[in-house]
């Protein structure tokens, strides 16, 4: 059954959507005011989440809602606070976390973590390091099986997302879904997860055996939050789901084009074929533009519109040398990065560098001392 949404609930632009385990309260963050709100589904009350004294809306980095919807955890980047809908605020549960909030269990245990480890803490206690794992590419980390296992998404570069179950007793990873991201395990025994097409799929899932059934599309056109790519969707333990449905879009990414824009907003189009154009870089003399189209590296001469393909494909990034005579192309394979150097008018690669991993590179003239 679909419930009406009060007009003051501006979920259309909401992000970081969460529903309490009992389905009574929805919490969400809404730009442009950068304010976190709660919405009581039973009373229809909508109000800003009270923040601890001295904490501003823009300080809130992440939050969690308690199982009964009466309290919230607020991570300001320097501390995790507990605050109640009635305005009462605790002392910080943990100071200096600067870490992601994962989960707030029914017994009051809070799970949080950084790139290298996960921690759990009970208010008034000392944090316990509970997970030693390389979390650098992990997103949407959710404890399941009463904290005996972790559900997360591996978002390694070049990957479309792999949903993985980590058994904490054996430290064994099991890949459940690929591609997919932002998985939730529901009390109904279903695993739901998102796809880049905005479709949400569900499959029967047994968290004890890690057996997973055939996925079925159960929701269409769910909004994908732009900053972190999460689904704007939340579900409680009893079968209430709150989400934002976005009008289906054309595959506009296939129709991207390069342009040079002046300060008045008027574009001077560069003559390239439309396509799935990703990043691009213009040489400092303005003569050439390197760009990715459909995953392949291209260079266009701005004056003539003449293009040529470099003959490499992958997760590519481009940087021009200060004198505009060479182009450095980085290719991230997920395992490492190769940087090759090219002349703007074509020809074979001049030289190459093999590096462990580079997410972005730039070229300077300074001597290496």
């Amino acid at each position: 059954m679909e419930l009406p949404v009060p007009s003051e609930v501006r979920l259309a632009r909401a992000e970081d959507l969460q529903i309490s385990g009992d389905g009574s309260v929805v919490a969400f963050w809404a730009p442009p005011s950068d304010t976190s709100f709660f919405w009581n589904l039973r009373t229809q009350e909508v109000a800003p989440i009270p923040l601890p004294s001295g904490v501003r809306d823009e300080d809130v980095w992440a939050m969690l809602i308690s199982g009964d919807g009466s309290q919230f955890l607020v991570n300001t980047g320097t501390a995790i606070w507990r605050t109640a809908a009635n305005g009462r605020t605790s002392a910080p549960i943990v100071t200096l976390p600067n870490r992601a909030l994962y989960h707030w269990a029914a017994d009051g245990t809070v799970y949080y973590g950084d790139n290298d480890a996960g921690y759990r803490v009970v208010e008034g206690g000392d944090p316990q390091r509970s997970l030693d794992k390389d979390w650098r590419e992990a997103s949407w980390i959710r404890p399941i099986r009463n904290g005996e296992a972790i559900l997360y998404t591996d978002m390694s570069p070049g990957e479309a997302g792999r949903i993985i179950l980590l058994d904490l007793s054996t430290d064994e990873d099991t890949v459940l879904v690929e591609p997919g991201f932002d998985a939730h395990y529901l009390e109904s025994g279903h695993l739901i997860y998102g796809g880049r097409d905005g479709q949400v799929r569900a499959a029967l899932f047994d968290p004890e055996s890690s057996e997973i059934g055939e996925p079925v599309v159960v929701l269409d056109s769910v909004k994908i939050e732009p900053l972190f790519g999460s689904m704007v969707l939340t579900a409680d333990s009893y079968g209430t789901v709150v989400y934002v449905k976005e009008a289906p879009r054309e595959k506009s990414s296939l129709n991207r084009r390069l342009a040079i824009m002046d300060r008045s907003g008027g574009p001077e189009l560069v003559r390239t074929e439309e396509g799935d154009i990703g990043n691009a870089s213009i040489s400092r003399d303005g003569g050439h533009i390197a760009f990715s189209r459909d995953g392949n590296a291209w260079v266009v001469e701005v004056l003539t519109g003449r293009t040529h393909e470099l003959g490499i494909q992958g997760q590519l990034s481009y940087v021009w040398s200060p004198n505009s005579e060479e182009l450095a192309v980085g290719d991230n394979t997920g395992e490492g990065t190769t940087i090759t150097f090219w002349r703007p008018d074509g020809g074979a690669a001049l030289a190459g560098l093999e590096l462990p991993f580079v997410s972005r590179h730039t070229v300077g003239d300074s001597p290496v001392n």
């Binding site: 632009r13 789901v241 824009m261 003399d285 303005g286 991993f357 001392n369």
Partner: protein
């Protein structure tokens, strides 16, 4: 050129900025803090690097001297990421939510001024998905079509569905 070109890179471990000589040699760290630094861009004169870091819990844009890092000079003010320096080294552009922000940079006095939103990412010509400063104060952009007018007036809708588990069981089984 000096003793060899060098590149800054983000290491996988902590998203730090590293330097590597392009004519051979081992990479060495340039900025290696416990927080993440990224998107380094060396100025045309090779004396400055603009980058973002998340020391404050969110990305902000800074500039530091190069190759010996001096004090951090704030470029953005409240939020900013993905900085790029202009070809003449006097302007820095960066992502600023739904806009592209810009700030003027005076290297001699080491002063950042005139912080301002440059353009909204959604323009009459399309939505900007990538940008980089070009010569003459222009911007190189990648544009994608915006939804047509009818689609644009059809805002996202919030949905609240109860008893969804029954629907899941019907569609997926139990």
């Amino acid at each position: 050129m000096g003793g060899g070109r060098d590149q800054t890179r983000d290491s996988r471990n902590d998203s730090d900025l590293w330097r590597v000589p392009t004519d051979g040699g081992a990479p060495t760290p340039f900025l290696e803090a416990v927080w993440s630094e990224g998107q380094g861009d060396i100025s045309p004169d090779g004396r400055w690097v603009v980058f973002h870091d998340d020391e404050l819990g969110h990305n902000e844009v800074f500039i530091r001297s190069y190759p010996t890092p001096g004090p951090k000079i704030a470029v953005s003010n409240g939020l900013g990421g993905g900085p790029e320096g202009s070809p003449d080294g006097t302007e820095i552009t960066y992502g600023l939510g739904d806009s592209i922000g810009a700030a003027s940079w005076e290297p001699e006095t080491q002063t950042v001024s005139d912080r301002r939103p440059l353009t909204h990412k959604t323009t009459e010509s399309g939505r900007i998905t990538w940008h980089e400063p070009a010569t003459g104060g222009r911007l190189l952009v990648v544009l994608e079509p915006v939804p047509d007018e009818e689609e644009a007036t059809d805002p996202p809708e919030a949905r609240v569905i109860t008893n969804w588990f029954e629907e899941l069981k019907r569609l997926v089984g139990n």
